[in-house]
Structures are given as C-alpha cells and as structure tokens.
C-alpha cells in the first residue's frame, strides 16, 4: 500500500510558555530581539555542577496560573506551564474541543519523584508524599490543566527524550490523517528538575559557558523549560503542519551517528511527506543543542539536503527544554512565518570550517519564510522533523 498523501493539518491556534516569556507576543518579541533567557538556576542547588545556569520560566508563573485557576497553586510547575499554554491555545480557538490529546515530555513529574525518594530515604512517613506522587505520572499535569476547561479526551504521552515534542505533534497529525481523531490538542512540556540537571552534568553534556549552537568553539548545552500547546485539525487554510518524518538511529543510546544519517532520514521523510523539494525550504530551525556531537551530526545532515538554507538554533536564547523543545520551537517557527523574520542563533562567533552553514548569527534576519523545517533529536537515537507552512497568499 502506498502512503496516503499527507494532507495539511491546520494549526488553528497555539500557546507558548518559554524562558523568553509567557504567551505568543512575549515570545515573538523575544525571538525578534534575540533576548537572552538564560539566568542562574534558582530552583535547586547547583553547587559543584558544571553548569550554573538554565533557561527558566518567569517567577510569576504561579501567580499567572493562579489567575486562570486558583486550584493550580498546588500544582507542579510543569502543570502550571501546561495550563498557561493550553489557555492561550483555547483563547485562540474558543470552540475547540479535542477528541484526543497528545503531549510530549521527557521528565514528566520528576520533581515529585525526587520528593518521594527523599522522604523514603529520610525514613519519614510517606503517605503525604505518596499522594503527591500521583503527579509523577506524565499524564497528570496535562489532565490537571484539561479539567479547568472541562475536557475529557484521552491523553497520550509521547516520551522520545528530546524529540518528544516534535513526535507528539507528528503523531497528532498521523491520528488526524488516519481518521482516528478529528481535533487533537498536542504539544510538549518539561519543567527543570534536579535529577535531569544532574544527569546532563554526569554526561558532561552541559556547559559552564554560554550555549553556542554550531559555533566552532561550542562546549555544551544549557537546560531550559517550558510548554507549548497546539490546536490541530484537518484543513488547508493558514498555518499548517504539512510534513513529518521520524527515524531511529541505533548507533548509540546517547550519541548520534557522526554521519548525520539519523537527522538526514528524518528530514528526508518530512520533505517527502510534505511533497516538497529541499529547495522549497526557507529556513531550518535546528535542534542545535550546542554539544559537539549533536551539532556536528545535524550539520552534516543539513549540508546533505539543504546546504544553502538559513539555519538557526534558538537554544542559545531559551536553553534546551527537552520534551517541550520540539513544541516550543514549532511555535517559534509559526511566529517567524507570521512575523516575517528568522530567529537568531545567539552566541555565534566562528564558523566551523567543516560545516559551512548559513547561520542566522546573533540577530534576527528580516525574511518572509513560508516553509520551515523544525528538527528535534534525542537520546535513544530519536530523530524527528516537522514541515510547517504558511501559504504565500
């Protein structure tokens, strides 16, 4: 059976919470200005860690969530971020009632798991920590936010490490294409957690310096957090997801194949499903974590398929928000198309000779992008790419 043509999936509305701000306007302004959203970590101790900084969502998060739903003051930060993004998406499409919800995350309710462990390890009574532990389930923050809007659709949590958000949006499109769903609420979320911070520290993947995606002197990633939620439905008008590719690279659990084969396969699939030639792409929002291995592999993949297309990674501004990154960056792509600019790749000083990419260095570039590739890659060899489109008319 030949694959069904990939009908466009309409982006009816979306909401975004990132270290650049809460809401679409704040994020668009932050992207256009090349704002630095990285700051010293305030959420847990980082003494002795390589990295001391992260992209953190505003300290006003709790108050903003409380203004929508007072009950949210007892929720995890992840749930509060989902609530804000979901509310913004709902406001943009007030009559949208999802029949399925697909969200990506990597760490889910990890801070609540940390709390449960510390309670047990201290020999303290664990009943209260056990009750809170229900929030450890990665579905819980999404369900908490949905209850505010009286939505009772089933929730599917996609966890493909740092590709989760992109995979969630791609799967939402596949559910719509197959007829298994008509309207899907999809996106991703992740809140900073000590466990994850220590994990990237142990792998020496995080940096004590600035995050410099694709720079010849890049030294690693800076973590981040946030959430983005999209209202998706069948349709050809306006903003749309028109292609999706996903491929697993089994070279190594944490390192991509140096050839860039994984990213290349995902990008090729996405273009084929969108029925587009590589030359049609106006901009690539790269995964671009700033680690030597990731950026080298991704650059090789891009050079094999879109060697002259402008590229930037926005992680120098936001940090790497893991399972939320793909969804947040899809939102950034939509902002770029509607706002007619290419987001900048901060902290870029020197091109690596082997990778002569057209990097949108340090300041936003005026442009009229209509077709964008958005890449996300993760542990386990997860590679995912979306094609986002805004019709030229």
């Amino acid at each position: 059976m030949s694959p069904l043509p990939f009908p466009k999936v309409r982006v009816s509305s979306f909401g975004c919470v990132s270290p650049l701000g809460v809401g679409r306007q704040a994020n668009r302004e932050g992207l256009r200005a090349g704002r630095n959203g990285i700051s010293p970590v305030r959420l847990f101790p980082v003494t002795g860690r390589r990295s001391q900084t992260a992209g953190q969502v505003t300290e006003e998060l709790g108050a903003l969530a409380h203004s929508i739903a007072p009950r949210s003051r007892h929720w995890s930060r992840g749930a509060q971020m989902v609530l804000l993004a979901m509310e913004e998406a709902r406001q943009g499409r007030p009559d949208f009632i999802p029949d399925c919800v697909v969200m990506g995350t990597t760490s889910g309710g990890m801070p609540l798991g940390e709390d449960f462990f510390r309670t047990l390890a201290a020999g303290q009574p664990s009943h209260a920590a056990t009750r809170r532990l229900l929030g450890y389930s990665p579905q819980q923050p999404v369900q908490q936010a949905m209850r505010v809007f009286h939505w009772d659709a089933p929730v599917q949590i996609v966890s493909a490490a740092c590709a989760s958000g992109t995979n969630a949006l791609g799967i939402a499109c596949q559910l719509i294409r197959s007829g298994a769903a008509r309207r899907v609420l999809a996106g991703g979320y992740d809140a900073l957690a000590e466990f994850v911070f220590a994990g990237f520290d142990s792998l020496r993947a995080s940096t004590a310096e600035k995050c410099r995606p694709f720079d010849a002197d890049r030294t690693g990633l800076v973590l981040g957090e946030g959430a983005a939620v999209f209202c998706l439905e069948a349709g050809n008008e306006g903003l749309a997801i028109s292609g999706y590719g996903s491929a697993v690279d089994t070279h190594h659990l944490t390192q991509p194949h140096p050839s860039g084969a994984g990213p290349l396969a995902a990008m090729r699939q996405a273009l084929a499903s969108a029925n587009l030639e590589p030359e049609a792409i106006d901009y690539i929002n790269a995964h671009g974590t700033g680690t030597p291995f990731n950026d080298a592999s991704e650059a090789r993949g891009i050079l094999q398929i879109c060697p002259r297309t402008p590229v930037s990674s926005t992680k120098g501004m936001t940090g790497h928000s893991l399972g939320a990154a793909g969804a947040i960056e899809a939102a950034f792509c939509c902002e770029a198309m509607e706002g007619q600019f290419l987001p900048p790749n901060l902290n870029f000083t020197r091109t690596e000779k082997e990778f002569p990419l057209d990097i949108v260095a340090n300041t936003a570039r005026p442009a009229r992008p209509h077709r964008i590739l958005s890449n996300s890659f993760g542990f386990g060899g997860a590679n995912a790419t979306l094609v986002l489109e805004l019709p030229e008319s």
């Binding site: 995350t105 659709a153 493909a160």
Partner: protein, 349 residues
Amino acid sequence: MKASIIGMGWVTPLGRDLDAVWQAIQDERQPIPVSQSSSFGASLCPVLRVPDEDLVEAEALPRLRRSSRISHLAVTAASDAIASAGLTADQLARTALVFATSDGGIAYTRRFYAEVVKSDSGSPLLFPETVYNAPTSHIAARLGLGGEAITLAGDAASGLAAVRLGGALLTTGEVDHCLIVSAQEMDEITCLAYRNLGLIRAEIGEESPAVYFAEGAAALVLARNGSPLIESPHPGFSYTSEAHAARQMERLLDSILASRRPRVVISGQSGISPDAIEQASLHRLLPDAVLHTPKKTLGESMANSALQHVIAGALALRDHKSGGEVLVPAVGFNGQIAALILTGSVSEE
C-alpha cells in the same frame, strides 16, 4: 481503527509459552510471589518475577549488557513476536515500533538519584537508561528497525493506546507492519508507591482483593490484513474521580457495544479500585459474558497488563472456533480509560 495480529510474544512470571500461560489463566492458577527487598527500611513487598533464564535475548546485543531489566524484558517479547510473525529483514525495514510503559527504567532512575542525593553526582552509565524510550532504542537496535519508534508513557490505558496508534500508522500507509511492545520492571520504589496507593497486594497471604505486583512484557505484530482483527472504535476518555470513571466507562462501553455483543471479556478487574469500576459496568452491560482475569495469575503490571490482555483476548478468540468477539477494557489508575474489540472475522475496511 482496524488492524490484525500476525505475531505475539509474551514474557510472564509463568514463562513465555503462549498456550501454557493462557491455560494457567483459564485455570486461575495461583501465582507464587517472592519478596522484594527494600533499602528504605520499609517492610517487603511480595512480587511476581520473570525467571532470569527466560530472558534469552539479554546477551544477544552488547548494548544490552548495561541496560535496565525493562529493556531485557521488552527485547525478549519483541523478538518472540517478530519470530512468530516470520517477518523478513525487508519487511522489518517497513515496520514501525510503539512501546508502552508506565514507569520506564525505574530501577536505574532510583539508583541514579540515590547517587545524586548521597554524593552529588550520578553515574553516566545509569542516566541514559532512565529515559522512557531507552527500551525502545534497544528493541530497534536488536531487530534492525530504523523507522518510526515511539514511546507512550502512562497508566494501563496507554497499553491500548499503543495498539490504536499502531493501527493509525498502518492506515496512513507509511508502514506495512507495526510492532507494539510493553514492559514493566520491578523496583523497591514502585513497590512501595503502588502499595501505599493500595494498587497491589501488600503482604503474602493477605486477605485482600488486590493482586501481586508483577514484572513482564508483551508484544504484538500488527498488519493491515488477517485474523484476529483488532478494532478500536473509540479513543477512550480521561476521568477525574472514581464516580466520574464509572460514568466514563459506561459511556465508552455504550458506544463500543452499540453494534457488538462480545461473549468474552478479558477483564482487568482484581477487585480493587479502579478495576472495580470496570467490573460494575461489565456486570450491567454484559452480564452473561465469560470473564477471564489474567491479573489473578500474572499479577498487576500496569500498561503491560493491558497489552497482555490483548494477547489473552486473541487466544480466547482462537479457542472459540466459531468466531465471535472479545472485549478488552482498561481502566488506568491515573485517569485514563480505553477499550478494544477483537474479532475473528476479517472485514473489509
């Protein structure tokens, strides 16, 4: 959504032989638990373990040597399912993978965080195995898969959501087969959590309707055509409370059973909430159906239990040579409800 099952793999505390395990379920054979040790000074949990010798694939791939037990369980079930389906390398190239899990590699997660709490740093060998999709990657590496490989995390209903997603991937025509895998590993922290939540039996010999916590894995190979056929006419619901769950289950079953009358139900019920919710709905809507309850024999293993129940449903359908329909519902402990229908008759899409 419709898809057919052309291969199955089942890794249980009672072994991997499909017929033997199915017979044990029908006989309601009582399982033999072992005690799960605890480093927290808490009392021990009785659990059902898969014999180590049943994990034949554990040494088959170098990268599995350092992996968590959930990956060994998952790879074993996946390999058995692919072998039973008889897929060739060319066919594997057009096979997608969907892995469903409730807790992922929880043992390495606990160990890594214990190191962080104790000494401010954790092992870089442990951390990569803590991501939910680590088993997915190991399965793909073992079988040579290179296409879509998705991990769904959640409660019991995510096992059925994985099947529904697999059917959707087949419908779009991008793949010819879809491998659905689930697995549950055992760790002291999940034993304590689920015990405190009242979801599993707390002591050996306890007078309790709850069942033992269990590890295991299950795998299905789905294709577009063949028999038995899986139908997922409804995506399911979220629920907010036990009372809401009961209403949502009735809504879901009313929808699914509008044009069907399954004679067999593979029930998740073990007598505790939320399974009791399912029991009440079934009693009202299908009072004459034959109920099989695999958890009494195989224990509770969350998302993995749901996929195990699909295998049990396929075997029940096989035994009913005259055809018919089998209902497989799942009420997750964390707010999700889903159900599937298995049928022996192949219908055109």
